[in-house]
């Protein structure tokens, strides 16, 4: 256990850090396992960052925007036009822009934490936040579907039209499982797993470099440079995935909402 917690300290062999390392001691009260954790602080900080940025950007609204306003409009317009308008379309996409906008930037900022030195901890490397967001989306699209189509929505969502009746016994259970059971799970775990994996890679690379540098063999010491180079490449990839997962999560939300809105035409 000591080897797991602090690898490459006593024993001669390399013990990579595990998932336990994600559970940092709490900040308040200091050092307790189940107190106020770093993730919680970061989540609250992300709300402050996003709200501050967009309120500042939107505060002095001018027809010809300044730099900050322009950046804010670019970011807002990206979610509004490239996600909400393109996927949901029609006249009623505006209703869902706030949800998609909040989701995208909430996830984006919380993911990017993982790429910022010192912070270096994506909030969604703990699964709780991902469950919450996926749960919100799950409830939202089912509510939209029921509100739009009535209770008939569940039939529309599980019984595809144009399928021969003798295949229906197979198709309906598959549809129920894929739409109502698997969908929220994959939606949350996709985000969580990529963040967890990214964070693990960073930790493993970090401890690997430390382990190699501590070695007395000069060649092994030198090999740490290779690991450093590799970890830099992984860092770039992780940064890409962080932004991509925020986009994917929001995009899937838009697709689920669109599917619920137009269940009768699918």
């Amino acid at each position: 256990m000591i080897a797991l917690a602090l690898p490459a300290q006593d024993s001669g062999e390399f013990n990579p850090p595990g998932i336990e390392q994600l559970h940092l001691p709490a900040i308040l009260p200091w050092g307790v396992a189940d107190g106020f954790s770093k993730q919680m602080l970061l989540v609250i900080l992300s709300v402050v960052i996003i709200a501050t940025f967009f309120l500042l950007a939107a505060r002095k609204q001018q027809l010809v925007p300044g730099k900050l306003q322009f950046a804010g409009e670019m970011a807002y317009g990206f979610v509004r036009n490239s996600i909400a308008k393109d996927i949901i379309g029609g006249k009623d996409f505006m209703k869902y822009v706030p949800l998609l906008f909040s989701l995208f930037f909430f996830i984006l900022v919380n993911n990017i934490y993982g790429a910022i030195p010192v912070i270096q901890l994506p909030s969604f490397s703990h699964v709780g936040g991902a469950y919450v967001l996926a749960g919100i989306v799950y409830v939202t699209w089912i509510a939209i579907g029921v509100k739009k189509n009535g209770i008939k929505y569940f039939k529309l969502a599980t019984v595809p039209s144009g399928v021969p009746f003798y295949i229906l016994p197979i198709v309906i259970p598959i549809e129920i499982i894929s739409n109502f059971l698997v969908r929220p799970v994959t939606h949350s775990l996709r985000l969580f797993a990529t963040m967890l994996a990214g964070h693990l890679i960073v930790m493993i690379a970090g401890s690997g470099i430390e382990f190699l540098v501590m070695q007395e063999n000069v060649l092994l010491k030198g090999a740490s440079v290779l690991v450093l180079g590799g970890s830099l490449a992984m860092y770039m990839l992780e940064a890409l995935i962080m932004a991509l997962q925020a986009y994917v999560f929001t995009l899937l939300t838009a697709i689920y909402i669109e599917g619920a809105l137009h269940a009768d035409s699918h």
Partner: protein, 183 residues
Amino acid sequence: MNQLIISAAAEGDTNPLIPNIWEMFVVLVGFAVLMFIVVKFVVPMFEKTFAERAEAIEGGIAKAEKAQAEASAALEEYKQQLTDARAEANRIREEARGEGAQILADLKEKAAAESARITAQAHVQIESERQAAVVSLRSEVGTLATTLAGRIVGEALNDDERAARVVDRFLADLESQNAGAAK
């Protein structure tokens, strides 16, 4: 510190799929606060700007289109006026030409009439003068001839009645001779 990490790990909380309920709570509240701010402030502010900008641009376009339409309408009007003026000028010129010809014809006619009148007057005058000449000639010729004949014959032809008869006869002969010569 080591001790703490180890104790956390030792509690068996290593299954990454089991969430920390307090973290879920923080994310839920944080996201709710963010949603509230976004719904209440961020989206309306951006949408307002977008709408205003669209309106400004579309307003500008509409204005430009209006000005363009007005300009082309004015151009059309001027062209129309120019055409009208040209047609008017042409018409006036034609009219003047017609009037000139009319006046000329009138004058010619008048002159012809005048000349005809003068000619007729002259004819009448000449005729009357001739008539007068004939009358006076007839009386004078009669007197002269009578006197001459009286002188030659030696006989006074004082008897007017007879003298007149002789003269008439003479003249009639003369006229018939003239008529025969004219034939």
